[in-house]
Amino acid sequence: MSLSSRMIIVLTAVGLISGGFLAGVAKLTKERIAFNIQKEIEEAIVNVIPGTVQNQKLYEEEDLSIYGGQDESGQSIGYAVQSTGIGFQDKITLMFGINVSLTKIIGLAVIDQKETPGLGAKIRDWNAFLQFWENRNATGEIILRKPPAGSLEELSPMEINTITGATISSKKVLEIVNFSLERLRELQKEGRLEGKPDAN
């Protein structure tokens, strides 16, 4: 057998064997991986709309996904909005829960961020940042409180606390939320989210 044909046969064999092997592995892990991604989103939804037992994706566009959450009785209890935008360092992906009439933000969770460790990265932290997002008034634009208030009670419902030393990251989160709120209102007007207004 000439050298060239031997080379070609070997390379093809190597390629085919690896390809086949990898295809098998991919098949085995595909479901599990999809499940993991799904699970992460579901946990975030339950986090920002407590009491959710069921959810479905209502709308999706680039960098924005909206899920509807229902409680055990099937009653719609809120929307979970997953949004990605530019942070200080890199992209931030967050999710916030909002009631169906779009008047109150129930809570916020940060899913992905690459902000400065020890400073901007604190936006993931409950004590430093996330707790101040509970029950914010969403009827208008939310603003930053600087210097930060000492406790949740001191904040007016339209304010959130800035993290000391991470003003820009805090501001970026706020920008993403405000932008998503506007988009959300537009979409609701267009009837793209089948939400039933309730008494909240």
């Binding site: 050298l3 031997r6 080379m7 070997v10 390379l11 190597v14 390629g15 690896s18 092997f21 990898l22 592995v25 991919a26 892990t29 599990r32 991986i33 993991n36 991604i37 992460e40 992905d112 400065t116 460790p117 020890g118 400073l119």
Partner: protein, 202 residues
């Protein structure tokens, strides 16, 4: 060249020919994922998996592969095992996989692995290649553990996520940043050389 004992074949990877500290290979992942011990360990184990299996396969088929296409073949073998490791992590250790970003696939260009195929597995028995791979991997894991332990304890006050430094300790954030990785590795290299020269003199 006299054949080394099995013991020596294994131990060389740990110190004398430690891939990171002496051969200066595999620096990219070493610097990138050693911000926390858990990611450093995960990278070490993933690389170990890839190195051992690649070495086994290459050593098994070394006689079948014409020299001209050997690099391409080694690369495909390595890339396959890296893909398996990556898929495995994504499926069963999703949070860690996310924390490591694009660095698991980058194991494929970790010079340690291709280097060992070229320098050893293609020329030695399966048994010896296995021991060599095991030794080199252990050396690599050791380097990762040392670096990540230093960076996590000094940079966040934690070890494997649990607080080990008291509240009086203000973390040196720089340790978690890229700069800290470079500085720590540079200093460790210096220390390794000092130890080396001191033991030589004795």
């Amino acid at each position: 060249m006299p054949t080394k004992s099995i013991r020596a074949e294994f131990l060389k990877g740990l110190w004398a020919e430690n891939p990171v500290f002496r051969q200066l290979l595999g620096m990219c992942p070493t610097l990138a994922v050693t911000g926390t011990v858990i990611t450093g360990l995960a990278m070490g184990l993933a690389t170990t998996f890839v190195l051992i299996f690649s070495s086994l396969v290459v050593s098994l088929v070394k006689k079948l592969i014409p020299s001209q296409v050997r690099i391409a073949s080694y690369v495909v073998v390595i890339a396959s095992f890296v893909t398996i490791a990556d898929q495995f992590l994504k499926a069963y250790f999703y949070p860690i996989s996310k924390a490591m970003g694009p660095y698991v696939p980058l194991i494929v260009v970790n010079c340690i692995i291709l280097g060992r195929q070229e320098a050893f597995s293609s020329k030695n028995s399966v048994g010896r290649s296995f021991i060599d791979a095991l030794g080199m991997s252990s050396g690599f894991v050791l380097a990762l553990l040392v670096l990540s332990t230093i960076r996590e304890i000094l940079g966040a006050g934690t070890f494997l996520g649990s607080q080990v430094m008291g509240p009086w300790f203000k973390p040196w954030i720089i340790m978690i940043l890229p700069a800290g990785a470079f500085l720590t590795l540079g200093i460790l290299l210096g220390i390794a050389l000092v130890i080396e020269s001191k033991t030589k003199r004795d």
